[in-house]
Symmetry: C2
Subunit: 191 residues, 2 copies
DNA sequence: ACCTGAACACCGTTCAAGT
DNA sequence: ACCTGAACACCGTTCAAGT
């Protein structure tokens, strides 16, 4: 009954902050938004729930940290034609959003969490659109089209509709790419 | 201490199913997704939490019923040019989605809830796209663009970003309309 | 500095009991 | 048929206590 209290001496390995982020992401991806709780994560980490609070403050802090890690790898390529760089950036963004649709949903659901990386990506897209030759007003319009469409595709993925009768998957990367090409084509004619 | 048990005789007015839906929607719109709980709704209705279960089964049932009511008024107009009818339908859909962004978020978060009305609206759009002259493959592509973009705009609204420095509201109906015009223009050239 | 248990104020939901 | 209280198994989070 009387289990040891306080910080354990040495025998037990305490997961690092990065371990926690990894396990949290895995829990969210595999079990879904509803099952993603502080207590469930603590159990998986074999740690007291309060240990997580020590590293991330609270649940929103944890979600924010997850977002920063997931989206930090979405970056504009160093070279290439502007339109092609937009395409690559959106593909990279969509790839991450699609890999972790539950994370996107959590961010959308909690106004407190607005990841810096999300803002940076939006800014990067806007700048590339200006480089393509769009006026600032048109750039604002098109960044909304591109970002909102990607987010909409993300929530559709999260909802988990499955493959259509004809075998085409509404949520595959290929499907997204094909749609993106159509949008960028319209963008070019709109420039 | 000993409050009466069981069904009250007559003196207390019990809210109807429609009252419950209305109050639920109001609670969700004003207080947000986090505050939208069965118990909070029961308190507002001055009713035992279990009374709600009697009418809607469970929380998902309630959310589903809210969705059916909110989206049932989004219908294609009886006359007009096909492209113009698509525009009107999307505007009507966006108007409802924007009026209740929290509801959209709840639907996205819970795979169990897939409102029939949402499926119907998607089908209606697809049919109109075919009427415009798109092949079934292009129609599939464009319905995704239009629906996902609208959903993305919805979650952006739910996130509650506010007006930009220049005073333009990223989430106004006018802004959505302007963007929709650009998309439908691209669609026409793509037909 | 970092981890712990206990406790608080909540949840959704089941169940048996009332009228 | 419809509404109720009590209870169960959960939540996120605060706090004081351990090392």
């Amino acid at each position: 009954m009387n289990r040891p209290r306080g910080r354990p001496s040495r025998d037990k390995a305490i997961p690092s902050r990065l371990d926690m982020l990894g396990t949290a992401l895995h829990l969210l991806d595999t079990q879904g938004v509803e099952a993603f709780t502080m207590r469930a994560l603590a159990t998986r980490l074999q740690v007291n729930p309060m240990t997580i609070y020590h590293h991330f403050g609270d649940r929103d802090g944890l979600i924010g940290a997850m977002a920063e890690q997931v989206y930090s790898c979405v970056r504009v390529s160093v070279s290439g034609e502007s339109l092609r760089r937009i395409e690559a950036l959106m593909q990279a963004y969509h790839a991450q959003v699609r890999r972790h649709p539950g994370l996107a949903l959590l961010i959308f659901s909690r106004p407190e969490v607005f990841p810096q990386q999300a803002q940076r990506i939006t800014d990067d897209i806007t700048q590339l659109l200006v480089e393509v030759g769009l006026t600032s007003e048109k750039a604002r319009l098109w960044v909304n089209i591109l970002v909102d469409f990607t987010h909409g595709a993300a929530v559709a993925t999260a909802m988990g509709e499955r493959a259509k009768p004809d075998g085409t998957d509404r949520f595959s990367d290929d499907e997204y790419d094909a749609t993106l090409v159509v949008l960028l084509d319209a963008l070019r004619q709109n420039a």
